[in-house]
């Protein structure tokens, strides 16, 4: 997984969207949530996606996360076209190559901290012993080494989100996707979470964060602004938004 490519040649994109559209049909009305997104994400990118509410950020992230299929267009993940894969293969892609962090943490209530972190490993068929080792290690990394057997209800929001981060890291994904990960947190715990993201990127992880917070733009190394289902601005190629095909 380590990128050995030199700075001179452009690295291969880990994610490539080509003319991706997503339409929702509600009765006779068709809502075009995404209207043709072109995007390349490279390894070690640290991207914040900004935009007004309803502009299609979550829709785009769901497609990037293989939780939903694009209506039109192509999606290549690690060079493989995953835009029209069947359900089982999509599950496999999600479990192996993607990590999710949600606004509302989405931990499983009946499981402990460790068990929650182990869920992706379970579906990858990692042995109990190995996954326990990985989970303990990750829990320590996000500062929950002393809360291994706690249940989500016994944790603060910030702690729960840290469990979710550990869970997203457990299968060593190619890309980590976060949809308003700090949206439910106070500024202190939100700040802690962002520091973890920074640290992850420093260690070479690829992260895509959706956020409301304009301050994030300075923190990440790339900013994408969406508007009405289109990329309005991309800091990597500032003229991309105006590009017409």
């Amino acid at each position: 997984m380590d990128e050995q490519s030199s700075a001179a040649t452009l690295p291969k994109p880990v994610i490539q969207l080509k003319g991706v559209e997503k339409h929702y049909t509600m009765g006779s009305i068709v809502v075009k949530a995404l209207q043709g997104i072109d995007l390349q994400v490279f390894p070690k990118d640290y991207i914040s996606i900004l935009g007004p509410s309803g502009c299609g950020k979550s829709t785009m992230l769901n497609i990037l996360g293989c939780l939903d299929k694009p209506t039109l267009g192509e999606y290549h993940l690690d060079g493989e076209d995953v835009s029209q894969l069947e359900d089982d293969r999509l599950s496999q892609v999600r479990g192996k190559r993607l990590g999710f962090i949600f606004q509302s943490y989405n931990l499983i209530q009946q499981l402990t901290v460790l068990e929650n972190i182990e869920v992706p490993l379970f579906y990858q068929g990692i042995s109990e012993k190995d996954s326990r080792e990985i989970a303990v290690d990750l829990a320590g990394q996000v500062g929950l080494g002393k809360r291994l057997d706690h249940r989500p209800t016994e944790l603060s929001g910030g702690q729960q989100q840290r469990v979710a981060i550990a869970r997203a890291l457990s299968n060593d994904p190619a890309v980590i996707l976060a949809d308003e990960a700090t949206g439910n947190l106070d500024s202190k715990s939100g700040g802690d979470i962002l520091e973890i993201f920074d640290a992850l990127n420093d260690r070479g992880k690829t992260l895509i964060l959706i956020t409301h917070d304009e301050g994030m733009a300075d923190r990440t190394n790339r900013t994408i602004r969406l508007k009405d289902g289109l990329v309005q601005f991309d800091s990597k190629s500032p003229n991309a938004g105006g590009q017409q095909h």
Binding site: N62, G65, L67, D68, D87, D88, S91, Q92, R94, G95, K96, F100, F102, N106, L107, I108, Q109, Q110, L111, V119, P120, F122, Y123, Q124, G125, S127, E128, R167, N171
Partner: protein
């Protein structure tokens, strides 16, 4: 990749962890899980208990019939009820009825497959020993009586062919009679008396089995006296008590002439019992104008008892099926609610790499755990209830190994059948929709 995939799907450790997970999820709602399983508990419990009771009852009935011998046909003389001239006959004439030695020899010579016949003739009077007396029966019969009637000689021996030919004054007491007449000492070697004749006791035999339930009408005319009986050679009986029997009853003497009170006909092969019984019936109908005899075919009774049991089992099976279906619907109802309640969890798992079949498996495991646990509790209850009934109600109950096994298996199958729909519904949700659910 392929092999990897298969390994992932079937690996035992995943199953084990899925089960642990299922237990955890069910444990989160202990009361609800318990109430859900209750339908199965009662279904399984009632199936096992009812089977045990039914099996016990029919076993007793069948045992009594088998004691009569399934290869036997039993003929008994009965006093005709429709003697129109009975009023006049009573004082003056001797009432002559019942089976005769002629019948016996005809049966032996004309009915195919007849192996042995056991005639017996009864005299009812007091049996004395010193100053102790019991109202009983002297039953004249033949040496092969114990074997044919399935009655064991408990002490001493039965009389022999030689003793019958010599018309010896020997007798074998039934267990009850021996206990009455010899409460403290050894009966064998002592003498008992009926009317003016003395008989030496040479053995003690089992009592005649008490009649089976009302439907299997095996009772003879005077069942009450039968347990108090002494068995003597039929030749000896004729010598001592003559052909005409006098009875003092309700203020007047009754005189009866009955050659044979009972004949047990043994047929060589079980398949020929029913045709032989038919032939004997036709023959006796020709010989006897009155219905002064009665025929009992234990095999026929056995068949009827078996048929009754079959019907009972069908009824029982239907009740069991209904109760298990009701239990299954209860499970399905709760599982559907659970799926709705846990839609978000399903979404999370799907996002983290769970395939549809993983979700199906997870929910199926939960229903099977529910129904299986319910089944186990039901088996435990179902096994203890018959014991309690046997203990307090003096009713025989029989638990057959297959009953709990079958009931438990059915409960698990019910869980699978009624769990499939909710499980597939859970797996059918798209990950995005499931995640959005609140």
């Amino acid at each position: 990749m392929k092999i990897d995939e298969i390994k992932n799907t079937v690996s035992l450790f995943r199953l084990k962890r899925s089960i642990i997970l299922g237990v955890k999820s069910l444990w989160m709602h202990k009361l609800r899980s318990l109430l859900t399983a209750l339908g199965i508990v009662f279904g399984v419990c009632s199936v096992i208990a009812m089977l045990a009771i039914g099996e016990g009852a029919s076993y007793e009935a069948q045992q009594q019939i088998k004691d009569l011998g399934s290869q036997n046909i039993i003929l008994q003389s009965i006093k005709p009820t429709n003697t129109t001239t009975a009023g006049e006959q009573e004082r003056s004439l001797i009432l002559e009825y019942g089976l005769t030695f002629r019948d016996i020899s005809q049966i032996q010579s004309t009915i195919p497959g007849v192996e042995v016949t056991v005639p017996s003739r009864d005299v009812k009077d007091f049996i004395w020993r010193l100053s102790l007396s019991v109202d009983g029966t002297a039953q004249g019969t033949v040496p092969w009586f114990p074997e044919m009637k399935n009655r064991d000689v408990i002490k001493g021996r039965f009389f022999t062919q030689v003793e019958m030919e010599r018309r010896s004054n020997v007798c074998i007491l039934t267990e009850s009679l021996a206990r009455k007449l010899f409460p403290l000492d050894e009966p064998i070697g002592s003498a008992v008396r009926m009317q003016r004749s003395y008989f030496r006791v040479i053995g003690v035999i089992e009592d005649k089995p008490t009649s089976a339930g009302s439907e299997t009408d095996l009772s003879t005319e005077d069942d009450s006296g039968d347990s108090m009986a002494m068995l003597i050679p039929i030749t000896t009986l004729a010598d001592h008590f003559g052909e005409v029997l006098f009875k003092y009853r309700s203020g007047s003497f009754e005189a009866e002439k009955v050659e044979v009170h009972e004949v047990t006909v043994r047929i060589e092969e079980a398949d020929r019992v029913l045709p032989a019984a038919q032939a004997i019936r036709h023959m006796l109908e020709r010989n006897h104008s009155d219905s002064d005899y009665k025929m009992t075919v234990p095999l026929d009774l056995l068949r009827r008892a078996e048929r009754t049991k079959q019907i009972f089992n069908i009824v029982l099976g239907s009740i069991a099926a209904i109760s298990l279906i009701v239990g299954g619907i209860g499970i399905m109802n709760i599982m559907l609610a659970t799926v709705t309640e846990r839609t978000r969890e399903i979404g999370i798992r799907r996002a983290l790499g769970a395939k549809r079949k993983d979700i199906v498996l997870q929910f199926l495991i939960e229903t099977v755990l529910l129904s299986g646990t319910g089944g186990l509790i039901g088996v435990a209850l179902g096994l203890s209830i018959p014991l309690i009934i046997s203990h307090f109600a003096e009713m025989k109950t029989i638990i057959q190994l297959w009953a709990p096994v079958l009931a438990f298996t059915i409960s698990v199958v019910t869980g699978v059948l009624f769990g499939i729909y909710p499980a597939f519904r859970a797996a059918g949700l798209s990950p995005v929709e499931a995640l959005r659910h609140e």
